[in-house]
């Protein structure tokens, strides 16, 4: 009956903070229920736990984890349909797009950020931006490789006084910049509110012909010989990378009567060089937050040793 002693050990560990019982005590109680009274192990475990909780004057909720969930950090969420507890700050609240959603937004802890959804029918108190909460019993979900947590009727919300810097789920990619794709350089975006689509020949896909607003962007490909990573550099990152700012780019285009000179000039400066880029991943793209030119002397020694030993 090693099963029972394992169970006894688990029950003992769960309760040890609150209850003064030995593993043997626990096992004896389990044994009695299971072998004498033919109670299934799960039920026996429950019954024994309740006995000790009663004795200590405790509720089940007083146990750490509120019933056995794992307490996780944001970066650990990598599977859907898991019931977890999480302590996180409300980074942003977004406008719910559906009546069934009570609140939606972004939670963050030191390891990163994750979307949350609180169902309208969950009847939970509203979360406030900037405050930190301990959320018990939330469910993880996944959509196109991105994870989220959902608050539901059984979720517990407790505001806590914890200060931390919210981390960013950043990836790091490196390699040679082997391509600067079309749609790079000096581009025009649709000026309509909340529409930032890039214009094609002066036209926005959504709003038709519009007077565009200039922006800088590079869609590049980093290739390390094993994998390729598509990277987007926004205006600031593009200027960092190429030393060409928006005003200068506009002037270049004006002088040449052609916007494509900007991308050509940028290509000549950056193609074929090695970079390391860190930033969050959205879909296919890594958004460059920080870019480092890799121009230090490489060390051939370890490769040489490897080659000689083959």
């Amino acid at each position: 009956m090693s099963d029972l002693s394992d169970t006894a050990q688990e029950v003992h560990d769960d309760l040890s903070e609150h209850v003064d019982a030995t593993v043997d005590d626990v096992e004896a109680r389990l044994e009695k229920l299971v072998t004498e009274y033919k109670v299934p192990v799960d039920e026996a475990r429950r019954s024994v736990e309740n006995h000790y909780l009663d004795e200590a004057g405790l509720d089940r909720d007083d146990l750490a984890g509120g019933g056995g969930n794992d307490t996780v950090e944001v970066e650990d969420v990598d599977e859907a349909e898991q019931w977890v507890d999480i302590t996180a700050k409300v980074v942003e609240l977004w406008e719910p797009r559906s009546d069934s959603v009570g609140q939606v937004g972004l939670l963050g802890d030191p390891t990163g950020t994750i979307k949350f959804t609180k169902w309208a029918k969950s009847d939970l108190a509203n979360l406030e931006e900037g405050k930190t909460y301990r959320l018990g019993n939330v469910v993880t979900d996944e959509y196109e490789g991105r994870y989220s947590v959902k608050l539901n009727k059984t979720t517990t919300i407790e505001e806590v006084d914890e200060e931390f810097e919210v981390g960013d789920n950043e990836d790091e990619v490196e390699g040679a910049l082997v391509d600067v794709q079309s749609g790079s350089g000096l581009i025009k975006r649709c000026p309509e509110e909340d529409c930032t689509r890039v214009l094609q020949n002066g036209r926005c896909n959504e709003h038709g012909e519009v007077e565009g607003e200039f922006d800088l962007r590079i869609k590049g490909v980093l290739d390390d010989g094993t994998d390729v990573h598509e990277v987007i550099f926004d205006e600031e990152a593009t200027e960092d990378l190429t030393d060409i700012g928006l005003e200068e780019a506009k002037q270049m285009a004006k002088d040449a009567l052609d916007t494509t000179v900007v991308a050509d000039e940028m290509r000549a400066k950056i193609l074929g060089k090695y970079y390391r880029v860190t930033g969050p991943t959205f879909g296919r793209y890594v958004l460059a937050n920080e870019t480092t030119l890799l121009d230090d002397q490489p060390d051939p020694e370890s490769v040489l040793i490897r080659a000689r030993s083959m």
């Binding site: 290739d223 094993t226 193609l271 002397q297 490769v303």
Partner: protein, 196 residues
Amino acid sequence: MSGAPTREVARRVFAAEFNDATFTFKESDDERAPLYALLPTGERSNRVFVAGTLTETEDIGEDSEYWRGRVVDPTGTFFVYAGQYQPEAASTLRDAETPTYVAVVGKPRTFETDDGSVNVSLRPESITMVDEAVRDRWVVEAAERTLDRVEAFDEEGNEYAERARAEYGEDLSAYRQAVLDALEDFDTEADVPADA
């Protein structure tokens, strides 16, 4: 990740091996299917990335410009050809003052010479001027990737290694030697103090 066509990785391969990759193939009958060169160390290659010294350029075109550049790495020479369909690369070759370090992204192409032998060349997507740091990093990287392929050559289920074995034989010693030459060359260079 799903749906979008995946971009081909640019292989890192020394000239010594690249110029031996005379066997090309397609994975499907589709006319527009990508053309692959079969590398002797057992990998397919639809694109390569090369950094080396551009030593000579020459317009060998008859009616229109057709530029040939020689890009040299520690093991041999890549022949880069750019004509009217590669206008940026052609103009880079036209304007280049040799010798200079360049980085080339391009596609392997083969052609048969009059005497019936097959030559391998590089059709550039881009050629850019780079500095010595890029070239040095590339040499070490090409060495590593070559060793990766040599190591994987005998692995079971390595489809392209099997095909390479059938096409070129299984003696990879020349490519391992190319790696050693490239790195040892590098080693002595590094021992020479740089002019400060």
